[in-house]
Amino acid sequence: MRGHGFLLANYVPGNSLLHRAPLAAKFLLVAACGLVSFIIVDWRISAAILAVLGALFLASGAGTKRLWRAVRPLAPVLLVIGLFQWWQLGGPTSARIVLNILVCVVAASLLTATTPVQRILDGVVQLVRPFKKFGADPERFALTVGIMLRSIPFIAGTFADVRDSAKARGLERNPRALVLPVFITSVAYARQTGEALAARGLGEPEDVEPAAKRS
């Protein structure tokens, strides 16, 4: 499995201001970027925010290569969206939509590049803790977030592998030959992940005496 199609940057150890910033502040930054992408109507402001986030990313020491790797998998999708919106709504709107998507991805990458996953998981656990009295399991929430972060590159990598094998068989224009194997592989991956977690006793309830007999 190729698994190179990273959408979010992996954690890069460091001691920059962003590395030291409280997790809550970084969470808020990501949430705010998501929010402003709905509010901003001027593409120049979106471009300015993207430039600031890009500068922060580089200041964290994560490097241009990681920044490029974080946005590169999106390029074909952004190109399609951009062209379609240009045709439908004109250049400025198209630019704003594309830039706002990039703002969200770079903001999320800033969080993941400057915060160890375990700290993000601890943050999720704290965030969900008040809901424990309603039956929510904070550790399960955290585990879900962690697995999501790992699954995105897996699925992107699977797509790249499937596309190559379809190309080798001359089927690159057949959507079925692309979508179906990715879907099947993703389901198999989900099952394997579930099994791996179960084997390590993660995300499962305490032992109980079974009321029902085994079949």
């Binding site: 375990q118 590159p153 390590r200 006793g201 993660l202």
Partner: protein, 243 residues
């Protein structure tokens, strides 16, 4: 060494194309106390099913499996604390983006304090000399490095029994030797399925599984010789050579 006991264990699964269930394991009785136990057999013979029973990943249709007296169905969480499981493909096993994060994930259940968890993860990685690779994406590691990382994540919680399902299948010769040396140094009881007969010869006891039954159970040299002769000369009958 802990005792892993199979008592009249059978597993059968329903089939869509036949009213008769498919028997994966049939009436297996075993008491495993040796430090190093190998399980060999053809593909589809039931090796993986046998191993998965030890960790409670698979439940018997009838009979019981106990690890140090704990039933793998009734006390599955306790059993999983004591039994670490290493899969053939470490990419299926490593569920976090980097090795360090995966080792820390293993420790989340037992170590609440974040700093203590990080220290313990560092120690677990250090044990296998993996510190320099710990922050790399798991996709950037070689097959051998991934397998060692998966092993470090499982051993971080110090299980008493280590079950490995064909751990060397995807490894080249150098990484296979590295894995072999690493396993030799572990204190845990090891139960391992393998197609690598040299690795099987390192064990204290070897089971040959065929058609869901234990077709041979004895010393590694005898078991490997028996398996070789069956593979080359035809399949054994179910009753043959069960000791």
């Amino acid at each position: 060494m802990p005792a892993v006991v199979f008592d009249q264990v059978s597993i059968a699964v329903e089939r869509e194309d036949s009213p008769q269930p498919k028997v994966l394991l049939e009436a297996v009785n075993l008491e495993l106390r040796e430090a190093r136990i190998g399980v060999i057999g053809a593909n589809g013979s039931g090796k993986s099913t046998l191993l998965r029973l030890v960790n409670g990943l698979v439940q018997p249709t009838s009979g019981t499996v106990r690890v140090d007296g704990d039933d793998t169905v009734r006390a599955v969480r306790k059993v999983r604390r004591n039994v670490g499981f290493v899969f053939t493909d470490p990419l299926s096993q490593l569920v976090m983006p980097t090795g360090r994060e995966d080792v820390e994930l293993s420790l989340r259940r037992s170590v609440g304090n974040g700093t203590e968890r990080r220290n313990q993860a560092e120690a677990a990685l250090g044990r296998f000399g993996l510190q320099d690779l710990a922050d790399q994406s798991i996709y950037e590691l070689s097959g051998g490095e991934r397998q060692l990382m998966a092993l470090a994540a499982v051993l971080a919680v110090d299980p008493r029994v280590l079950v490995l399902d064909e751990p060397s299948t995807l490894l080249d010769l150098r990484n296979r030797e590295l894995l072999r040396r690493t396993l030799a140094d572990l204190d845990q009881q090891i139960i391992m399925s393998t197609h690598d007969l040299d690795l099987a010869l390192d064990m204290d006891r070897v089971l040959v599984i065929e058609g869901g039954r234990v077709a041979f159970d004895g010393s590694p040299a005898e078991a490997v010789a028996a398996y070789r002769s069956w593979c080359l000369g035809g399949l054994p009958s179910a009753e043959r050579d069960v000791r």
